[in-house]
């Protein structure tokens, strides 16, 4: 049995529409400095950070090998520096593996993205499509989500009113989160009156463009207990890839999410996921995804997301107390920000949005058109 891995410290910038005055290296430094301060770590060969894993994306950054620009911040002088070019929560997966393999004891994870740098986030995600069959018709992640939302609306009890409540609640939650100072707070009526973006997704259903960075320190069990009083243990991880072509999938089946969740639950030794988690953070890039992903995680009855919302399920189950993706953070970092938020909750450092005595939480990330790739992490404290 491999050794346990703990999250020892978490730091993040605010997530804002346009940090035009700051380079992405500067955002990352804003995360690195508090992490070093909180943990007392450095990059020394003996006891320091043994591996830095950054999360970024060459296309969003418009930089080939975007981590090359980050080496100073990542302490890469003669050190191990690697980049996860995938949904940010995968840096947790990779850091966990590197520590459990025995190769390294302390890992820095640092994700950053300036979505504001590009003219259009949709133009970036358009480039995820193949050049022959799907780019020529103009697909991007928003249009793909529109089709999934349409299919989910038909297959579930979720209505436009339910989704308006999801968005309104996200704004209310974001108000309690100092990391999301700019998040708009909409009333349900305002959401319902907002224009369609990609039917049935309305303009207010979509997560805002934002800039920001997030990081954490991971350590092997014995080191983790030295570094901090209450490490948050990564007890389960799981992810899964679905088919590429939208037409090859059943868009409402939650195929990849179900598998990702089952893997994470199995590794965490969880047989009955319901009523197991004190706090849940899921990447709801569009409002329909909050109930849909909750169903995929096996935490809400299939096709009954609407009733769950109407019955106050999100509050009762402490879902996205941070405001979630709808409150805004870069696409690439969704799952990593979720994991950071769950960690803050389990560390008792979540301020006004703190869930009393939270001991076990779930963080979720998603990437690709209509949820082609999902990843789940289970975090726990002693």
């Amino acid at each position: 049995m491999a050794r346990r891995v703990g999250i020892c410290a978490v730091a993040q910038t605010t997530y804002q529409r346009d940090k035009w005055h700051e380079r992405f290296q500067g955002m990352a430094l804003e995360v690195l400095e508090p992490l070093l301060e909180k943990t007392g770590l450095d990059f020394s060969e003996e006891q320091g950070i043994g591996m830095s894993i950054s999360v970024s994306d060459d296309v969003f950054d418009a930089r080939t090998i975007s981590d090359n620009a980050m080496t100073d911040v990542l302490g890469a002088h003669m050190r191990c520096e690697e980049k996860v070019a995938q949904e940010g929560i995968q840096a947790l997966y990779y850091g966990l593996a590197a520590i459990q393999s025995g190769h390294v004891d302390v890992v820095l994870v640092l994700g950053h993205c300036k979505e504001s740098q590009g003219k259009s986030r949709n133009m970036v995600t358009h480039l995820a499509f193949d050049p022959f069959y799907t780019r020529p018709v103009g697909l991007d992640f928003t249009a793909a989500a529109g089709m999934q939302a349409q299919a989910y609306a038909a297959a579930s009890d979720v209505t436009d009113d339910h989704l308006a409540e999801v968005v309104a609640r996200a704004g209310r939650m974001a108000r309690m989160n100092p990391a999301t100072p700019e998040t708009a707070v909409y009333s349900r009526e305002e959401v319902l009156a907002s224009p369609m973006l990609a039917d049935p997704i309305r303009a207010h259903h979509a997560y805002p463009v934002s800039d920001g960075a997030v990081g954490m320190i991971l350590a092997a069990e014995d080191r983790a207990r030295d570094i901090c009083a209450h490490p948050v243990w990564i007890t389960g991880v799981g992810n899964c890839m679905d088919s590429f072509f939208l037409g090859d999938r059943d868009l409402t089946s939650n195929f990849a999410l179900k598998k990702a969740a089952a893997r994470a639950y199995r590794r965490a030794g969880i047989d009955t996921p319901r009523d197991t988690f004190d706090v849940i953070e899921i990447s709801d890039q569009y409002a329909y995804q909050q109930p849909m992903w909750m169903e995929g995680l096996g935490l809400v009855d299939e096709g009954r997301g609407g009733a769950w919302i109407a019955g106050g399920g999100p509050d009762a189950m402490k879902v996205n107390r941070s405001g979630g993706m709808l409150a805004g953070n870069p696409l690439l970092l969704g799952g990593l920000v979720r994991a950071a938020e769950v960690s803050l909750q389990l560390m008792g450092q979540a301020g006004d949005r703190q869930v009393a005595d939270a001991r076990r939480g779930l963080a979720h990330g998603v990437m690709g058109p209509a949820g082609q790739f999902h990843a789940v992490a289970i975090l726990e404290r002693d």
Binding site: D67, N68, M78, M241, F255
Partner: protein
């Protein structure tokens, strides 16, 4: 370091490396390597738990290409991880696969490095590496004549140029035995003088003939836990250790070359961790990421912790030839084939094939008990991987 469990390489697959792969699209080219790797491991895709994928996005301008490439990788329904670190990507993919298996998360992992440079604009892509404020105007792709100038200064023009050309011709002779290699020119030693004069100059004494190719290709490798590897494979290539040493982006912007190279630093660290005191004796073969024959010649000194002109003698004495005492790049190396996201993985793959005794025509004529592979990228980054014939931990 106490490794949680041993990891063995049990399968290697490579597409043909070429400047012209018009007959396949990206997932199809990847699939060639995947199919061969699975066949070589005696597995089907159902036996694989996780797919690790890497390349440079701006070389083909596909965002998160593992999504599309699922059509060829076999990732459907499986776990996956995407890691990229520039030129070292392929070596980082090996490190990632090693971690994923050694940690106990997975028993069988398939790692895939690929690039289809023909589809994009490589030098333009590399130039986009540079900082838009500080470096973009100065960047000239991956070309630099600095090493040639330094070697000429240190060892004299005639000797330095002869060594670099001898290295080049030896590598081509190796590539001639590797039917997957991209550039197989059939050079002979008596062409050296002519090439030193007439090959077009790129930067200073870095000539076209010295420089690596720009290739399309994919490499895939199957990694398995000790239990599975032993059951599935007569002779796995075991992963003993790997060391990554990167460095900051702007270390030489003001003209000073680094005093201590990441190559030497990584080598020292690796040898220390693995108890190697005399690398030339204890390591049987070295597969180096050699972007040009100047760098290949020069870097031998760094990787083997040599001083003076020992490294030149190794080239002059044919020690690095396939049948020499210390064979270097029996595959033909990077000068012969360079699909960037796969290139560093191909080094480990070749080292593994040599240990497994499956390198075919380019198998070196001795038992390879311990093999070293290097990856190179970024602004002088190094990854070193040490493979063994015996279960290492």
């Amino acid at each position: 370091m106490k490794k949680n469990r041993n990891v063995g390489i049990i399968g290697v697959g490579q597409s043909v490396y070429s400047s012209h792969r018009e007959e396949v699209n990206q997932p199809e080219m990847i699939n060639e390597a995947v199919v061969e790797a699975l066949e070589s491991a005696g597995l089907t895709i159902d036996d694989v738990d996780c797919i690790v994928h890497g390349n440079m996005e701006l070389f083909e301008m596909v965002h998160q290409p593992d999504l599309w490439h699922t059509l060829g990788t076999g990732a459907l329904g499986k776990e996956s991880l995407r890691v990229t670190t520039g030129g070292t990507t392929g070596a980082t993919l090996v490190a990632a696969a090693d971690h994923l298996v050694a940690s106990g998360l997975h028993d069988v992992v398939l790692a895939i490095g690929f690039e289809k440079l023909q589809e994009g604009h490589t030098t333009g892509g590399i130039t986009n590496m540079a900082d838009p404020l500080w470096g973009r105007q100065l960047q000239t792709g991956a070309l630099t004549g600095m090493t040639a100038a330094q070697m000429i200064e240190e060892f004299g023009e005639e000797r330095a140029k002869k060594v670099a050309m001898k290295y080049r011709i030896l590598m081509d002779q190796h590539a001639m035995k590797n039917h997957k290699a991209h550039r197989r020119l059939g050079l002979s030693p008596d062409q050296a003088d002519e090439l030193m004069e007439n090959s077009p100059q790129l930067v200073g004494e870095l000539r076209m003939i010295h420089m690596c190719s720009q290739s399309d290709g994919a490499c895939a490798m199957v990694f398995a836990s000790e239990e599975k590897a032993t059951a599935l494979c007569d002779q796995p290539a075991w992963i003993k250790d790997h060391v990554t040493a990167h460095r900051e982006e702007m270390f030489c912007i003001f003209g000073d070359a680094p005093v201590l190279s990441t190559h030497r630093y990584a080598a020292r660290k690796l040898y220390q961790r693995c108890g190697i005191t005399n690398p030339r004796e204890e390591i049987d073969l070295f597969e180096m990421y050699d972007p040009s024959s100047w760098w290949g010649s020069d870097w031998l000194r760094e990787f083997l912790l040599l001083e003076g002109d020992e490294h030149l003698k190794m080239i002059e004495n044919d020690e690095i030839a396939m049948d020499g005492a210390f064979p270097v790049n029996p595959s033909g190396g990077v000068i012969a084939s360079n699909p960037i996201g796969a290139t560093a993985m191909v080094r480990v793959a070749e080292a593994a094939l040599q240990i497994m005794g499956r390198a075919g025509e380019h198998q070196v004529p001795k038992t390879v008990n311990q093999a070293l592979a290097s990856g190179f990228g970024g602004t002088m980054w190094t990854v070193l991987t040490l493979l063994t014939r015996q279960v290492p931990w």
